[in-house]
């Protein structure tokens, strides 16, 4: 659906940000979980074996956190067309979304702490379809995100509800 030449990509800084996000998540959530599991497992298996296993898991996760964001970045495209917003996303599970401008109810920009460091923002596009955002574009330069937000939220029309 996306004309890949005309489509736009995210800010290149996104890759680094996603890597850091994954690392932070790994440190906060993943490693304690692994340690807990390892602790439980050490009652059954030999301690050295458990240590090796946990370390391997951590290493795999770190490697994954390093290369996966690049793939995600490569897979992501978006394009604002005359009538709609197109978003292509997903490495394994690919998803193309088209959101007509006149169906957009509101547009949010959001920024987490890491995103603020990188000067990036997320853009969430909501329609009347449901509670969750219909389209989401992570990793836009904040000023781009705000410009896009204003652009998208400007169009009116029948919302079909």
């Amino acid at each position: 659906m996306l004309d890949l030449i005309a489509a736009q990509r995210l800010d290149p800084g996104t890759v680094m940000m996603w890597r850091l996000q994954r690392l932070v998540r790994l440190i906060i959530m993943g490693i304690p979980t692994l340690i807990a599991i390892g602790y439980a497992a050490s009652t059954v298996f030999r301690f050295e074996l458990v240590i090796v296993l946990v370390l391997t898991m951590v290493a795999i996760n770190v490697v994954f956190a390093m290369f996966w964001p690049a793939l995600e970045y490569n897979a992501f495209r978006y394009m604002v067309r005359e009538q709609d917003l197109l978003v292509q996303t997903g490495v394994l599970f690919r998803r193309w979304s088209a959101i007509p401008h006149n169906r957009i109810q509101h547009v949010d920009t959001r920024q987490g702490p890491l995103e603020r460091v990188f000067g990036l923002s997320r853009l969430l596009v909501f329609t009347a379809a449901g509670m969750s955002a219909d389209g989401s574009i992570p990793g836009l330069r904040t000023e781009d995100a705000e410009r896009l937000r204003d652009l998208l939220s400007r169009r009116g029309g029948d919302d079909g509800v």
């Binding site: 998803r95 959101i99 109810q105």
Partner: protein, 624 residues
């Protein structure tokens, strides 16, 4: 800054929300522009109706758009002079200004408004209405007299006095019913222990609380039509005020339970797309009041024309006879469920262990066990048949010029009106049993997310039993713009590779089940081998019966064999379009189209590359 935002509030009821997060570093001319446009005096002259306000920004639109290129701070959005299409925002915020829901938002409003009201003379802005006690209608009313309002404002009205009695019993009963375990405990074992008194006291306390709630609800609830909107306020300590734009009403439901019937009252439930719970607000109005309110809402809103009582005489599209009502109840539980339940029950009996089985066999013959099961099934069927009678007695569906009305119920009578313009989707359920009887069920869905009596409502409108030949016709009544009849039109089949996928999936699932059975089950394990062919045939049948159709006006998707569902939606209701492809689907070159409408989403069967490409082009044009 305070002042500036205060004026903005007056400018447009809706925009003040976003305006309140104006950053102080606004450029000076930004701060000036709105004040120039909305000098309070100017405002007073024509603040007026919503329509006037909508026009105003449009006229000013040309100037400020130049500011678009120079990137504005977030404040831009909320700036009323620069909002070419405020409808969306206005709609969102005015649709339901409910304080309890988004506290953060509306607290801000009330703050600003409160401030403003102290500073200046009270102007009839939306928020001031919302906050003001019901008593000061006089002043607000006179202020509005000069304006061009489509519908005359009504004075504040309250619930019918008998509502106290009508609401009391059900509420108290609900409270008691929710505490039945304690009650059971008291009745059975509580005596002697002296615990009974405390428990009973607790129950009494809760009952009294619910009585008190009913009383407060009756005393404080006030509603009126004001500025073309329905306003409802209630609550003593936690005050709630709700403003409903009649154009946003998804459907109106008139409910009359036994108490209502005896007292000649009726409950009016108004469903908008935003609120999940519609119950209990206008819980007891006199029939005249309810009809009057409904008619007024119809005049200004999306509902059908006001004088519709003559529709009573028009012939209903669908009615239900006793046989059909009972058949509906009996087919609620499909053969599949019964079979599974039987199997599970038998398995539990076998697995319960030799001691337990021995225990059972001492006390009870196997034949008796089987008989008990049969009895259970008969009982469950009876219950569902009975509940079907209670729900659908006297069912009829009437097509009004621009709405659909259904009436149903034995003790609790319901009358639902759905404006045709609000119908998002029609779903036809044809479970195998019902299909064999030559019937199907139609569900008419709007954007309202209803929670009725504690459970998620499937659909706003329901036609329980429709003869198969009439399904297409009735569905077309509900979605007239779709112009398609899936029961006569030829649907496109799912891709052959999709069959391959589902067969592989079914075999894997069956294999897992069988291997589990072989590890854990006793002699019965051989029976589970039958799962494999059954699931394979099931997968094939499911695939065979899938179909989709995309016409310039409609999208049709049909899934499933045992519980066949057909979705029909009009393309002008589409909210967004998605193509989804998993890794395995990519392997086969398949993808799946998912379309979302307000309130629900449907997916088409898996399509091959060619069809997908066609769909992409076709749906791309849709966005126009």
């Amino acid at each position: 800054m305070r002042n500036a935002s205060g004026t903005c509030c007056l400018g447009a009821g809706a925009t003040m929300v976003s305006n309140s997060d104006d950053t102080p570093d606004d450029t000076p001319d930004d701060a000036v522009e709105p004040t120039e446009a909305f000098v309070p005096g100017d405002l007073q002259a024509e603040l007026p109706t919503e329509e006037a306000r909508r026009v105003k920004p449009a006229a000013l639109d040309d100037g400020p758009t130049r500011s678009m290129p120079r990137i504005q701070p977030p404040g831009t959005i909320g700036n009323p002079t620069e909002q070419p299409a405020p409808e969306a925002t206005v709609g969102i915020h005015l649709e339901e200004l409910e304080v309890s829901e988004t506290v953060g938002f509306h607290l801000e409003i009330s703050e600003t408004v409160g401030l403003h009201l102290e500073e200046a003379e009270p102007l009839p802005t939306e928020p001031s209405l919302q906050r003001s006690p019901p008593l000061d209608t006089g002043s607000a009313g006179t202020l509005h007299e000069a304006e061009t309002i489509l519908v005359k404002d009504t004075p504040w009205q309250g619930l019918h006095p008998i509502s106290l009695a009508v609401n009391l019993v059900p509420r108290a009963w609900n409270t008691i019913r929710s505490m039945w375990p304690i009650l059971l405990f008291v009745v059975i074992g509580g005596e002697g222990a002296g615990i009974g008194f405390i428990e009973l006291f607790v129950i009494l306390l809760f009952t009294l609380a619910s009585v008190w709630n009913t009383f407060v609800h009756w005393v404080t609830l006030r509603y009126r039509i004001h500025n073309g909107r329905l306003e409802i306020t209630s609550g003593l300590l936690n005050r709630r005020a709700r403003t409903i734009d009649p154009a946003r009403i998804q459907n109106v439901e008139l409910v009359q339970n036994l108490f209502h019937t005896w007292a000649g009252l009726v409950e009016l439930r108004i469903d908008t797309a935003g609120e999940s719970s519609t119950e209990g607000l206008l819980s007891a109005l006199s029939v005249e009041d309810a009809t009057a309110l409904r008619n007024t809402l119809a005049e200004i809103g999306s509902l059908a024309a006001a004088s519709r009582d003559d529709a009573q005489e028009s012939t209903p599209l669908v009615t239900m006879g006793w046989a059909e009502i009972l058949a509906f109840g009996l087919t609620q539980r499909t053969i599949g469920t019964v079979a599974v339940l039987t199997a599970v029950g038998l398995e539990i009996m076998n697995q319960a262990g030799p001691e337990l089985t021995a225990d059972f066999t001492v006390n009870m013959q196997p034949a008796m066990i089987v008989a008990a099961f049969m009895l259970a099934f008969v009982a469950s069927w009876t219950v569902s048949a009975l509940s079907s009678v209670f729900r659908f007695f006297g069912y009829r569906m009437i097509r009004l010029p621009d709405a659909i009305r259904t009436e149903q119920g034995l003790t609790t009578k319901r009358r639902v009106e759905i404006p045709l313009s609000k119908v998002q989707m029609v779903r036809a359920d044809e479970p195998l049993m019902r299909r064999l009887m030559g019937y199907g069920t139609l569900l008419i869905e709007t954007a309202g997310l209803g929670v009725i009596e504690g459970q998620m409502r499937q659909a706003e409108g329901m036609v329980p039993m429709v003869e198969r030949q009439k399904l297409g016709y009735i569905a077309a009544q509900a979605v007239p713009h779709a112009e398609v009849d899936p029961w006569t039109a030829e649907l496109k089949p799912a891709h052959p590779r999709s069959l391959y996928r589902s067969i592989v999936g079914a075999s894997i699932r069956a294999g897992l089940l069988i291997s589990l059975a072989f590890t854990f089950l006793g002699p019965l394990k051989w029976v589970t081998l039958a799962v494999l062919p059954i699931s394979l045939v099931g997968a094939w049948l499911d695939w065979r019966k899938q179909g989709w159709l995309v016409t310039p006006t409609a999208i049709v998707s049909r899934r499933g064999f045992f519980n066949r569902r057909t979705f029909i939606l009009s393309r002008d209701k589409l909210q967004s379009i998605h193509f989804v492809q998993g890794p395995l689907m990519r392997l086969h070159g398949l993808s799946c189209l998912v379309v979302r409408v307000a309130g629900s989403q449907i997916s088409l069967p898996e399509t091959g590359a060619e069809d997908t490409a066609w769909l992409m082009v076709e749906m791309g044009q849709q966005s126009a």
